[in-house]
């Protein structure tokens, strides 16, 4: 099976936030939950770069390691998912996640954050594929329909790549080779303990 990953080519990313609203649109993610976001480093200075970030579906995922109730699981496509039935909303995954991916419907009152919500790599959750219940709890399951995450599919400049690790790494490598610069495969070292040699 494929090893699914995200890769944001920051030299293409223009902080247009298409990935953010595509995600909202596809899963009807409510206000206040940001499964994906775009962060701009060195804003306004020469050298500024924007990076679209969501759950990176880490190898040896920290969220899964610290979860007190083992609600995380990794699919055959190496997508890290979780069960909202099991989640107790403790917030530990948020402390552990290097990418700030876990989101909670409520923050601040007595720690009752509600069930954690995060990027599913558009592949739903533990309920039946493409069922109404799965949509309601986790959003659409594009992977089960043979489609990739909508954020990457709709990326305005094709900065955000999703797909099999080897394929997207090759695309990125070729780009860097062709254009002669590349600020790095943001998050790869942290998430996958490897980076793309260019």
């Amino acid at each position: 099976m494929a090893r699914m990953k995200f890769l944001c080519d920051a030299d293409r990313c223009i902080e247009c936030n298409a990935c953010v609203t595509a995600c909202k649109n596809e899963h009807d993610v409510p206000w206040g939950i940001n499964r994906r976001r775009v962060v701009t480093i060195n804003d306004g200075k020469p050298g500024e770069r924007s990076i679209s970030m969501a759950c990176m579906h880490c190898t040896d995922a920290p969220c899964a390691a610290v979860c007190p109730v083992n609600c995380f699981y990794t699919t055959a496509d190496a997508v890290v998912l979780h069960s909202k039935e099991l989640c107790i909303g403790c917030g530990y995954c948020f402390y552990a996640c290097p990418f700030g991916a876990p989101q909670y419907p409520r923050v601040g009152n007595f720690g009752s954050r509600g069930k954690m919500d995060k990027c599913t790599y558009c592949s739903g959750g533990p309920l039946a594929d493409n069922s109404l219940a799965e949509y309601a709890a986790y959003g659409a399951n594009r992977l089960a329909q043979g489609k990739l995450p909508l954020c990457a599919e709709m990326c305005s400049t094709k900065a955000l790549l999703a797909g099999d690790s080897d394929m997207i790494a090759t695309i990125y490598k070729e780009r860097v080779l062709k254009r002669g610069y590349g600020s790095g495969a943001w998050g790869w070292q942290t998430a996958y303990k490897e980076t793309i040699a260019t």
């Binding site: 223009i14 936030n17 990935c19 609203t21 649109n25 020469p46 923050v107 949509y135 094709k158 254009r179």
Partner: protein, 983 residues
């Protein structure tokens, strides 16, 4: 390891709200409407939303398993790139949005706005039914009653004050067909006071570019930028305003290792990806361009061959350029000479080079002159009329190009036919309505303030009043307004109220109107700003996604958009609304005599297809004749067949073979001639039937003894190997080409020519014969002329630098003064009075910060539509001003704090500070999409309940100031002054 978990208890953890709707079975249209709209509660404060639980009760309907999916394609409405939106419709509800991989323009991509357009047609915050103000309260009413009441008031105003007193403000969100219909409506009503957003975005581009080489449009395309070796993006931030265009720009940059130079007062998201960023002072574009040209000429980098063959008057322009040595340029613009020289060298020598611009160039009192300076730079370096070159003008709305083409403009009839008698007669021919009918509809204007009186016929040939001045035309003494009476009514379809400077003036103007009609999917700022209690109507128009028709992208490609779903709530489409008003006002029979009516939501409505056919029948001047609905639909069905760089389909294909995508105008001749459209304007390297062309000789044949026709330049394989003028029947007769016309064509020409058939030209021959023969002979119908570097018919024939009215450098005003006070487009234009006043009052000392404005990626235009979209609104929740860290520190302002931004004319705005180095010291920048707050006061209560946008904020235009371009009435949106203080 847990892989899939069977659950008997899924409902327990299912998130509240949506589940209820979903488990109740399959959603059909009726339940969708019942659930989504009319029950929606009023304003929910943003603060409360942030704590909202997962999936609120008003969640948008998601996909329904097992229900058949219909795919509908339409075009995103939020900029001019023309991204295809691929909608999945189930049971008449838009339940999903998929990437349109097949579109050669966006290849599946969207920006934040495009990726969230589905929400617009869910429409939680839309206007749901017609309403009027009764004693300050919004009251629901029926369409019939609304049309009847409004029509009566319009007729009443017409009787008292004249047709010109009703201002018809249209929209760049219109389809071509609706824009055309609205312009036609104005002609039948009897006014030239009909305008739309192009006035405030690219009117100066259209004027400047058309006056340089013939047509006022982008010469190449977004895709063609992939061919450029050097690009200058000046006064534009496409990364936010046209994000999908960056796909082409950045790919071009990468594959060609192209130079990407951004010239802007602000280090934008676009500049972040540049290979060279040049920071300039706002309002000094002409010195920068002349500075570049100074280096080019000094080093002999100009394209001498191109200049000799295809350009008139460059030597006159260069006389002005001589004054701009590097030292002077640096003093005025702030750009060091060495940097400009490097940029000049790249642009002139690493070709092909393209110049991309947006509203940073156009929204100035010298907007038209700016644009002509840009064009002159392109001409000097021979960068027009070939792949990878050209003036790539990025426009702002889906169809702002199309609406401009359709003549939603105070100076044109549709397709750039002027307001002269011949043009009126042309359209009277097309419409098959007697010319005299139109003469009878226009006001006689009495003599006022020393100006002579005008008859109706004279009045119909006088340009109307630009939308930027509507409130001045309401408020000023009647003798200042060069028409029968002041503006008494605003009839606004799809246009924001906060996008024009001097909002305090607009507030006063709104108070003085007898009638205010807003036809829009969302209540615009015209609603929130006013202090009216009666005589105000809101009618729910549907969005572009609920409407069939063609849209013209910035690159002149037409794309057919399908109605995705029936208009939601009680909204109606533009065709029907205009038709109903024409009926009420008594000219529907004449106006719609050749237009097919089909069964629509509320009964008979004009069909988009038949409207486009009528446009095809009249659009000879601009080549809007070949784009039949059938051809456009074939293009949409075969989008994947077009090449991504050349935009051309392989020749062997049926229906679309050899066509350029969207048949970019000019697409000459009748549809059956199968002209492929023109991807790159003025391209002499191609045959006419491959999209070739030449500069259009529309300014005469010679001047001062020098020819204005091309010399030693012609389109590929042209039978006439020299410059030549436009083709008329008389020219045909002289060449003996009239023999190639059919008897039928000849008869038509004789008929419309009357006593003088020789004058019937390629542009007025509605038989299409002249164009057909021109194409067959491989000559350009409009002739083969030179572009001109001097536009002798315009103010400042060669662009000269003029300091902004509110300049931070009053010391330069004596040397570079604004124009003398004058009258343009029915209104006084007091450049000098204001500039002198500002200098005398020492405004630059008390308001030391330059204020400029621009777009955010999340919002568009006045922003009511996008600020009502919860997926977008969440991303920008507060109006802000960008302040340089140095200026902020001086004022004790920290990032995120509330500040007051005060303008020199008294307007002030309470906004959040965003402390950033995007702006240089002494510069502030504000986005222009906000509204709903006015000088610190939240006006949420002015909106009809439930239709208030989620995010409100101060409009930048509360602070911006006086200043209008003399040619088009464009406002000064980019260079004024302000002061900022902690609030």
């Amino acid at each position: 390891m847990l892989i899939k978990r069977k659950s008997q208890d899924a409902a327990r953890t299912r998130l509240a709200g949506l589940a209820g709707g979903l488990t109740s079975g399959v959603m059909d249209r009726r339940t969708f409407l019942a659930r989504s709209g009319l029950t929606a509660a009023g304003a929910i404060a943003v603060g409360a939303l942030t704590l909202g639980s997962v999936r609120r009760a008003d969640a948008i309907e998601g996909p329904q398993p097992g229900v058949p999916v219909t795919i509908k394609k339409n075009i995103c409405t939020h900029c001019s790139v023309g991204c295809t939106v691929r909608a999945e419709v189930q049971n008449g509800v838009w339940t999903g949005q998929e990437p349109a991989w097949e579109s050669p323009i966006n290849r599946g991509s969207h920006c934040a706005k495009g990726a969230s357009v589905r929400e617009i047609v869910h429409g939680e915050r839309r206007v749901k039914y017609p309403m009027k103000l009764v004693g300050g309260q919004w009251q629901r009413m029926s369409w019939d009653q609304a049309i009847s009441e409004i029509g009566d008031k319009m007729l009443d105003i017409r009787a008292k004050s004249g047709a010109d007193s009703v201002y018809l403000l249209g929209s760049a969100k219109f389809t071509n067909e609706a824009a055309y219909l609205f312009r036609k409506f104005a002609a039948f009503w009897g006014t030239n006071n009909v305008d739309h957003q192009a006035r405030i975005c690219h009117s100066t581009t259209v004027a400047g570019v058309a006056n340089t080489w013939g047509y006022g449009a982008q010469t190449n395309s977004y895709n063609d930028i992939r061919n450029a070796k050097t690009m200058i993006i000046m006064g534009g931030n496409p990364a936010e305003a046209h994000p999908v265009s960056l796909q082409h720009v950045l790919t071009g940059k990468e594959i060609n290792r192209a130079n990407m130079i951004v010239i802007d007062p602000r280090m934008t998201r676009t500049a972040a990806h540049a290979t060279e960023y040049v920071r300039i002072r706002s309002g000094t574009d002409i010195p920068v361009i002349w500075g570049l040209m100074w280096h080019i000429v000094k080093n002999g980098w100009e394209d001498k061959d191109f200049l000799a063959k295809r350009v008139y008057g460059m030597s006159e322009a260069l006389k002005e350029v001589e004054k701009w040595d590097p030292k002077t340029v640096e003093d005025v613009t702030g750009v060091p000479g060495a940097q400009l020289e490097r940029v000049a060298k790249l642009f002139a020598t690493e070709k092909p080079s393209t110049l991309i611009w947006c509203m940073g160039a156009t929204q100035h009192t010298v907007g038209t002159a700016n644009v002509r300076a840009y064009c002159t730079l392109l001409l000097l370096t021979g960068n027009v009329g070939a792949p990878g070159t050209g003036a790539n003008i990025f426009r702002g709305h889906t169809n702002v190009q199309g609406a401009t083409d359709m003549g939603l403009d105070v100076t044109n009839l549709p397709l750039y036919y002027g307001l002269v008698e011949g043009a009126w007669r042309h359209w009277a021919n097309v419409w098959e309505v007697p010319y005299d009918y139109f003469v009878s509809r226009f006001d006689d204007v009495p003599a006022k303030a020393g100006r002579a009186a005008r008859t109706g016929k004279q009045n119909m040939e006088v340009s109307g009043l630009p939308s930027t001045r509507w409130f001045d035309a309401t408020l000023l003494p009647s003798d200042q307004v060069d028409q029968k009476d002041n503006i008494k009514a605003m009839f606004v379809m799809g246009h924001g109220g906060n996008t024009i400077p001097r909002v305090p003036g607009a507030v006063d103007g709104l108070g003085k109107l007898d009638l205010l009609v807003i036809v829009d999917p969302h209540p615009t700022n015209f609603v929130s700003l006013h202090n009216r209690r009666d005589g105000t109507y809101i009618l729910p128009a549907c969005t572009s996604f609920e409407c069939d028709g063609s849209r013209t992208a910035s690159n002149r490609s037409l794309q057919w958009g399908e109605k995705i779903v029936e208009p939601i709530f009680e909204s109606g489409n533009d065709y029907w609304i205009i038709y109903k008003f024409a009926q009420k006002l008594g000219f529907a029979t004449e106006m719609f005599k050749n237009i097919e009516l089909v069964k629509g939501k509320f009964g008979d409505e004009p069909s988009a297809e038949s409207l486009l056919r009528e446009i095809n029948r009249g659009g000879w001047s601009t080549g809007y004749t070949g784009q039949s609905p059938e051809r456009l639909k074939a293009h949409m069905a075969n989008q994947d067949k077009f090449d991504i760089v050349s935009l051309r389909a392989p020749k062997e294909l049926a229906d679309i073979g050899g066509d350029y995508y969207g048949l970019p105008w000019p697409c000459w001749g009748k549809p059956e001639v199968r002209h492929p459209g023109t991807h790159i304007l003025y391209n002499t390297n191609l045959r006419m039937m491959d999209g070739g062309g030449a500069f259009r000789p529309r300014f005469g044949l010679e001047r001062n003894g020098e020819t204005l026709l091309a010399q030693n330049s012609w389109n590929l394989d042209s039978p006439i190997q020299d410059g030549y003028p436009e083709f008329t029947y008389a020219v045909f007769q002289r060449l003996g080409w009239d023999a190639d016309l059919t008897a039928e064509e000849k008869a038509t020409i004789e008929r419309i020519g009357g006593a003088n058939p020789g004058n019937v030209s390629w542009a007025t021959d509605i038989s299409g014969g002249i164009q057909r023969v021109c194409l067959a002979k491989n000559v350009c119908p409009f002739g083969n002329g030179k572009a001109r570097a001097i536009a002798w018919n315009l103010p400042d024939p060669v662009p000269i630098h003029r300091e902004p009215i509110y300049t931070p450098r009053p010391d330069l005003v004596a040397k570079y003064p604004a124009r003398a006070d004058e009258r343009n487009l029915r209104m006084p234009n007091l450049h000098t009075t204001y500039q002198k006043g500002a200098v005398d009052k020492g405004i630059a000392k008390s308001f030391p910060i330059i204020l400029t404005s621009g777009r955010l990626v999340e919002y568009e235009g006045g922003g009511e539509e996008t600020r009502s979209n919860k997926w977008l609104a969440e991303l920008q929740q507060d109006m802000f001003v960008e302040v340089n860290p140095g200026d902020a520190a001086q004022r004790g302002i920290v990032d995120g704090q509330w500040v007051w931004v005060a303008g020199p004319e008294g307007g002030r705005a309470r906004v959040k500070a965003l402390v950033t180095e995007r702006v240089g010291p002494g510069v502030a920048w504000m986005p222009f999409h906000f509204g709903g707050w006015y000088q610190g006061v939240d006006q949420r209560g002015n909106y009809p309940p439930g239709a208030d946008p989620i995010v409100l904020g101060e409009s930048v235009n509360t602070v911006t100031t006086y200043g209008y371009d003399p040619v088009t009435g464009m406002h000064e949106g980019k260079a004024t002054l302000c002061q900022i203080q902690a609030a």
